[in-house]
C-alpha cells in the first residue's frame, strides 16, 4: 500500500471508531459466528436502533437463551444475561417486574424461543408483558449441528431429517398474533433498514412486541440444502421477499424456497401487564391498594 493511497481517502481521523462500537463489548471480539451468518447483521441493526431511539443504555437490559443467537447478550455493551435454554422470556419477565423502568429486550433464536421455550413465549404474549422479543430465525438448530427445529419448512434436509422434513412448521408471526402480541413484524437480514426501523419502533412501544428476522445459516442449512452461500441467500431474500404491511399473518407461512412475506403485520394497543394488574387491584381494593415497591436500596 503506497503512502499516496493512505493520504487520499476520506479524512477518517486516526481515532475514528465504527459508530456501533460503543454498543458492543469490543474486548469480546472476534465473535463466534460463521462467515455468511446473519446474526451479526441483526446486531448491527439493533445497535442502529439503539442509536436512533436515543435510548438510555444504562436502562436497557438484554436477555438471551441458548444457541448461536443466544450469544448476542454477551456481545452487547448493556446489562446482559445469557440464561438457560428456552428460558430467556421468564428471566426477562422477572427482571421487568422487579425494575419496571428497564427496557428489557429478549434476543434469541427460533429453536430456543419456539421449541423448548415455546410455552413461555405464548404466555408472555398473552399477558402483554412489556418485553421486546427479537427472534433470529435461521430455520434450524445451528449451534448443535443443523437438526430440525419447529420452524424448519417441509422438504428441507436437516441432520435429523436427511430425507426431508415432513412435519409442518410453526408460522411464528401467526403464533405471536394469536397469542396476543401488541406488535408483530418480520424481516430478513437483507432488509437492514426496515429491520433497524422496526427495532427502533418496538423500543418506543409498550407491551409485548415481536420481530422475526429470517437469517441464513450457510454452514448447515444452506449448505445441506444446496442453497449456496451467504451472498446467494441475500439474493434469494431480495428476490423472494414481498413487503406486505398488514398482511394476514395466517398467510405468511414460510416454505423451502418460496415467497417470504415481510413487513409489519400487527401494531395494536392492548393494556399491558402492569396496567391490568393495577386496574384489577384498584377495582377490588380501592384506596387500600398501593402499587408494589419492589425496588429498595437495602434489599
Amino acid at each position: 500500500m503506497s503512502e499516496q493511497t493512505l493520504e487520499i481517502p476520506c479524512n477518517i481521523p486516526a481515532d475514528a471508531v465504527n459508530p456501533v462500537e460503543p454498543f458492543l463489548r469490543m474486548d469480546r471480539m472476534p465473535h463466534i459466528w460463521c462467515p455468511g451468518c446473519g446474526i451479526g447483521t441483526t446486531v448491527n441493526c439493533f445497535t442502529r436502533a439503539l442509536i436512533d431511539s436515543h435510548a438510555n443504555l444504562d436502562k436497557v437490559a438484554i436477555v438471551s437463551g441458548i444457541g448461536c443467537t443466544g450469544r448476542v447478550a454477551g456481545y452487547a455493551n448493556l446489562d446482559s444475561f445469557h440464561t438457560t435454554h428456552g428460558r430467556a422470556i421468564p428471566f426477562a419477565t422477572g427482571l421487568k417486574l422487579a425494575n419496571p423502568e428497564l427496557q428489557v429486550v429478549v434476543y434469541s433464536g427460533d429453536g430456543d424461543l419456539f421449541a423448548i421455550g415455546g410455552n413461555h413465549f405464548i404466555h408472555a404474549a398473552r399477558r402483554n408483558m412489556d418485553l421486546k422479543v427479537i427472534c433470529v430465525n435461521n430455520l434450524t438448530y445451528a449451534m448443535t449441528g443443523g437438526q430440525t427445529a419447529p420452524t424448519t419448512p417441509s422438504k428441507v434436509i436437516s441432520a435429523t431429517n436427511p430425507y426431508g422434513v415432513f412435519e409442518p412448521a410453526f408460522n411464528l408471526v401467526a403464533l405471536a398474533e394469536a397469542a396476543g402480541a401488541s406488535y408483530v413484524a418480520r424481516w430478513t437480514t437483507f432488509h437492514v433498514k426496515q429491520l433497524s426501523r422496526s427495532m427502533e419502533e418496538v423500543l418506543r412501544k409498550k407491551g409485548f412486541c415481536f420481530i422475526e428476522v429470517i437469517s441464513p445459516c450457510p454452514t448447515l442449512y444452506q449448505r445441506r440444502n444446496k442453497m449456496g452461500d451467504g451472498l446467494d441467500t441475500m439474493k434469494y431474500y431480495k428476490q423472494a421477499s414481498k413487503i406486505r404491511h398488514g398482511a394476514p399473518t395466517a398467510e405468511c407461512d414460510l416454505t423451502k424456497s418460496g415467497e417470504i412475506v415481510v413487513g409489519k403485520f400487527v401494531d395494536r394497543d392492548r393494556p399491558s401487564y402492569f396496567e391490568m394488574l393495577n386496574s384489577q387491584m384498584t377495582e377490588t381494593l380501592g384506596d387500600r391498594y398501593a402499587e408494589p415497591e419492589v425496588m429498595c436500596e437495602q434489599c
Partner: protein, 324 residues
C-alpha cells in the same frame, strides 16, 4: 408463571432487577426446578426455593408426607456446586427460617432450600410474628466500586463476590457458562477449577461453626437420635420413652442439612454408642451421618417409605437395640 421452569428462573430475573424473590413447590415441581437451581448456583444469584416434600418418585403421594428429596436438594442439578438447605419442624420455624434462608442467600450468594414436609407444611400452630423492625435482615451486598472498576465475580475474602443491579450503569454480563471474574465465558481448565471450587468452598463454614442445629440431653447420651423436620418431633417422643426406660438417649436435630454439619457429627460420634437416624425415606441423610461418624459409633437407619410419620415405638425400638 406458567410452570416451574418459568417460576424458578423468573425469580432470578427479579433478583438481578434488585428484588428479593422465592418460589414454592412440591415433588415433581422440585424436579422441574433443578436446572435453575444449577443456574442460581453458577451465577451466584441469591434466591430461595421452598420444597414441601411429598412421597415420590414421580407424582407419588400428593398431600402426604415424606423426606425423600433431601439428596435431590443437594445434588439434583448437574455439575459440582453447593447450596444451603434448612429443615423447619414447626410453623413458627417456617417463618423464622424463611427469614434466615433469605439472609443466608444474600450473605453467601447461593440458592437456599427450605425443605419442609407435608406435615409441617399443613400444620396449624401458634406463630409469633415480631415487629418488622425487630427482624434482622441481611442486606444485599451491593458493590461500592464504580462501573469500570467493578468485576462481577471477583470474590472478597470470604470467597463471595459483591452484587450489582440491572439499570445502575454497570453494564455487566451474567452467564451460566463457566466464566471469569468479569463474568465473561471462559471455558478452560483453570477457570473451571477456580470458579467451581469456590462455589463449594464459600459454604465450608456450614460444616462446622455456622451449622444450625438443636441439641438436648447430649452430655450423658449413649444413643443419639439424629433427625430433622417432622421426624424430629416424633423422635422426641421416642427419646422421652427411652429415658423413662433408663436408656440415656439424646437429641441432635439437624436444622441446616446442607452443607451437612459433619464436624458436629464427627465430634459426637466417639462419645456415644450409636446414632439412630429416622427418616421419611429409605435412607438418605443417614449416609452423611455414617460418613461423618466414620465408624466411631454404630449408625442405624429407621426407614419409612412415606405417607405418614413414624410410629414412635419404631424409633424407640431402634434406640433400645442400639443401647445394648
Amino acid at each position: 408463571m406458567e410452570d416451574e421452569l418459568a417460576a424458578s428462573i423468573t425469580i432470578q430475573g427479579a433478583v438481578w432487577g434488585g428484588a428479593k424473590a422465592f418460589t414454592v413447590t412440591s415433588g415433581p415441581g422440585f424436579s422441574l426446578m433443578m436446572e435453575h437451581i444449577g443456574y442460581a448456583a453458577m451465577t451466584e444469584t441469591p434466591c430461595v426455593f421452598v420444597d414441601v416434600q411429598r412421597g415420590g418418585p414421580s407424582t407419588g403421594l400428593p398431600t402426604l408426607p415424606a423426606q425423600a428429596d433431601m439428596m435431590q436438594a443437594r445434588w439434583g442439578s448437574h455439575g459440582d456446586y453447593g447450596i444451603i438447605a434448612l429443615c423447619p419442624n414447626s410453623p413458627q420455624e417456617c417463618f423464622d427460617l424463611a427469614i434466615t434462608a433469605f439472609n443466608l442467600s444474600e450473605e453467601f450468594r447461593v440458592p437456599v432450600m427450605l425443605m419442609l414436609d407435608e406435615c409441617v407444611g399443613h400444620m396449624t400452630e401458634k406463630v409469633i410474628i415480631p415487629d418488622a423492625a425487630a427482624i434482622d435482615v441481611y442486606p444485599r451486598r451491593f458493590t461500592h466500586l464504580p462501573p469500570g472498576e467493578f468485576r462481577l465475580f471477583e470474590p472478597r475474602e470470604d470467597k463471595v463476590p459483591d452484587m450489582v443491579r440491572a439499570g445502575d450503569g454497570y453494564r455487566f454480563h451474567v452467564t451460566g457458562l463457566t466464566h471469569d471474574e468479569r463474568g465473561y465465558p471462559s471455558m478452560n481448565v483453570d477457570t473451571q477449577r477456580s470458579s467451581v471450587t469456590r462455589l463449594l468452598e464459600k459454604l465450608q463454614p456450614f460444616t462446622g461453626e455456622r451449622a444450625l442445629s438443636e441439641t438436648a440431653d447430649l452430655e450423658d447420651a449413649e444413643v443419639v437420635v439424629v433427625s430433622y423436620g417432622i421426624t424430629s418431633r416424633v423422635a422426641q417422643r421416642a427419646i422421652d420413652l427411652a429415658r423413662q426406660k433408663g436408656v440415656r438417649a439424646g437429641k441432635f436435630r439437624i436444622i441446616s442439612a446442607w452443607p451437612f454439619p459433619e464436624k458436629h457429627i464427627a465430634a459426637l460420634a466417639p462419645k456415644v454408642k450409636a446414632m439412630v437416624v429416622p427418616e421419611l425415606n429409605l435412607g438418605q441423610m443417614v449416609h452423611e451421618v455414617e460418613r461423618a461418624a466414620a465408624g466411631r459409633c454404630k449408625v442405624r437407619l429407621v426407614p419409612h417409605a412415606g405417607g405418614t410419620v413414624h410410629n414412635p415405638e419404631a424409633i424407640l425400638k431402634a434406640i433400645l437395640e442400639a443401647a445394648e
